[in-house]
Amino acid sequence: MALQQSQQQKPSAAEAKTANTSIPNAARNPSNDEPNKKRNATRREVLPAGIVGTEGMNTVEREIPADEPPALKVNSSLAVIGRSTPRLDGRLKVTGKARYTADVRLPGMLFAQVVTSRYPHARIRSIDTSLAERAPGVRAVYVLDRVLGNAELRDKSKELPAKFPIVRFAGQPIAAVAATTQAEADDAARLFKVEYEPLPFVVDEDEARKKDAPLVFPGAADQGGTAGGGGGPQGVTQEGNVRGPVKSGPRGRPAGDINRGFAEAEVTVEGEFRTQVQTHSALETHGVVADWKEDGLTVYASTQGTSSVRDEFAAIFKLKKSQVRVVTEFMGGGFGAKFGAGNVGVIAAQLSKKAGAPVRLMLTRKDEHLSVGNRPSSIQKLRVGAKRDGTLTAIHLFSYGTAGTGTGAGAGGPAQNMYKCPNILTEEADVFTHAGPAAAFRAPGHPQGCFALEQTIDELAEKLGIDPVALRDRIDESPARREERRLGAERIGWSRRRRAGSDTGPVKRGLGVAQSIWYRFVNMDSACEVRVTQDGSVEILSGVQDIGGGIRTVLAQVVAEELGLKASDITVRIGDTAYPAGPASGGSVTTGSITPAARNAAFKVKQQFLEEVASALGTMPEYLKLGGGQVAVFDRNPNWSDGDRQGRSYKAAPIKSLSFRQAASRLKTEQIAARASRSDDYEKSRATYGGVQFAEVAVDTETGVIKVERVVAVHDCGRPMNPLTVESQINGGVLQGISYALYEDRILDRNTGLMVNPNLEQYKIVGSRETPRIEAILIEEYTGRSSTDAGGIGEPATIPTAAAVANAVYNATGVRVREMPMTPARVLAALQSARGKGGVRS
């Protein structure tokens, strides 16, 4: 998540950025004609606010920058935004013409392969590259002098003496080679002679916490954040391999006093929950094509952030940012792991520099599992206290987990922020292990946090004899989730839910519910340019990349709405740092950040368009109206349909109509263009997004197999821009959640420190056989925060699924499975131990 750029976290940075926004209209406002006040010119605007279809639907008045467009009506009144719109690039994707990084072919391009460590912890004594250098086709070799991604020692002098970077996980890159074919590079990579001095290692977080455990770092270490977030807080106290725990609570600080809270509690529930390490496993691995030239570096990258990749390249190679160009036409999924240049990028660029030719490096599936990120594990001890009526009095979470050689294993977000409770304390520790570093992964910390919190709330409901949905209605203040619970409960038939363990046969069915919370982050580095050309063609340009979420199409919708065209009329050029700066796509920020800039730019260019066309037609811009691909010319201002300012009523009548194209031909110059950057949100108080998911499962108590049969996922994301693509993200989020809940597990062998399942066979991700019926329901919530009022969906969609499944498993069997993945073995063990206590009927 892009915490660094979030205005909530760093208002000062956001304000600094806003100050750069130029506001030409300010000059027209006599009260603001002092130059230093221009940038503050504002006006009052009434915007829709509330949840459509509920009593809370209303309006809100905001102070907004004077040059921004008028309030956008709710979706039902719009022509393009909010309508399901097929992806503009759909045709390219279904014909195989969409160009991904591995499809880039440059003249003279070389292929690279990486040499990685076979040991989880080692000092490298020597590296002999001579055989590799002489191998057929080899054009360059490179030995890494620095490894990115791992945490770094605060005090560098504490590092073990060594000629080469210390190896801290099996799979850590050591060297690389570029050759004229991939096969030659693969062969040559096997010819490096690396002499290791293996060192003691530990890959298990419980072992690593012990006093005498082998140390991962010989001193305190921090992991630098990337644009996509991940990484834990800096400067945390560290003892042995354990950093922290960091004490926190709602908005970053403990709330109240948990001791008092538990003393006041009439009921307490507690449990220990364990979640595994999950790897991102995008179908396209990390990869780049780097083309080093005298005058700069061009990189084709599979990334979620063209700008963040450029920044890291510029910093590492000491280039000006303007000398680095990053291009991402299409990319095959990232889920948080693809933000920086990373070792992959640096290796390719170094090889390209040495060889004087472009170099392509795509990671193998194995390296993808080992070295470029994962979701940290967690062991969470959660205790919740409440009054008999359900009111929460205290929440205490103690958790630790491993992010390997990285940091950021905290899981406290949901416990801190989901429910109303006066006393909240979370204590989150990171445990270093000799395993690949974590990276941001779709809602860092939240799916694991929800697995514990939402099961505990479920248990509390049972203990109190209150329905889990009804309990949440009492303790959850979010109006959106209230509505989502209502809709979801109705849809899944929550009233069918029986007492836990009601089925008498071997296959038991049950229903469960869980919810998510996520936060509104805005990346201020979001800018667009919109161009209209005399032939009537319209283009939008931005550096933002489409990682599959569909922003390419949404940008076209926004421009089309403003100009009265169809989305397919708009040419979208994105994914290139040569265009105006775009946000990195992490933390569900893309749509909420970039669409206001797109609309503002389209609005500006529209004004110029109308002025020029009006003057060519001898009328006033206010008398023109865009819509349906036409420019209608009226005899008076058509917006004053109810009467003029004196209250005389009249109706504007259209005089004539010309096509957008005919109108564009009247422009004075070949092309007009306007650019807009993101202005600050109109309202800066904290906002969250979320969702409620209901799962229906069948548990075979003889085999331990859980089958998820149906999921109803009800979500909010502000103004839904393109329901078609939102729905797809919800489906995908749910499925990733099921995959996490039941199957995925990065398994390291404690004796060798090696991953035993670095593939897609034994590292199982959910396939079509295990896919349940998924019903996505979307509510439409307005908060009057920007010129589009759009938010994000990627992360909230995956957060609650595992917890909802776990609660359904409990409802089916009467037995709680507190460890993920909920494999048949774990289910059987839980049933067995409950049987021992006389807890399960079969």
Partner: protein
């Protein structure tokens, strides 16, 4: 490497309804031959171990994982890749429905799914949802949640049977 292995193999086969001749290092997989020697990059690679299905192509109408097949093995056979699905400039009904219904999110898995689905519909013009799931079970998608892929296959199947079919219902806006 010995000289023998470095010598190129030379084969002829039919690719997307055209006769092709190609020379390549004999150890190459069909996937490599297609992407590197024939410059058809529509066929993707996700694992090169036969686990993900992204490299699926049709050989004599049957779906195969091109990362597990040697290029040499297709001598004299008929290979169809995603680039060959459209006929005379008209997209295959599956391509239309995948694009229209949003069955391609990042799109990386899409070519593989299209070809498996094509094989399915040729053998079974009216597959049930369960049969579709079973047919697609060898192909992984990390983005879409599969649902829209099923819907696209169902809609294409209906259209290919000549039925008037409407796209599956889109998002439920809470209030029907």
């Amino acid at each position: 490497m010995t000289e023998g292995i470095r010598q190129k193999a030379h084969i002829e086969f039919r690719l997307n309804d055209e006769a092709v001749e190609v020379a390549f290092a004999p150890h190459k997989t069909l996937l490599e031959v297609l992407r590197e020697d024939l410059n058809l990059t529509g066929t993707k690679h996700g694992c090169e171990l036969g686990e993900c299905g992204t490299c699926t192509v049709l050989v004599d109408g049957r779906a195969v994982l091109s990362c597990l097949v040697l290029g040499l093995d297709v001598e004299g056979r008929e290979v169809t890749t995603v680039e060959g699905m459209a006929e005379e400039g008209r997209l295959h009904p599956l391509q239309d429905t995948f694009a229209d219904l949003g069955a391609a999110q990042c799109g990386y898995c899409t070519p593989g799914f299209l070809l498996v689905a094509k094989e399915l519909l040729e053998a079974n013009p009216q597959p049930s949802r369960e049969e579709i799931k079973e047919a697609l079970a060898g192909n992984l998608c990390r983005c879409t949640g599969y649902i829209k892929i099923y819907e696209a296959v169902e809609l294409a199947a209906a259209r290919m049977r000549g039925e008037e079919a409407r796209p599956a219902k889109e998002i439920i806006y809470g209030y029907e």
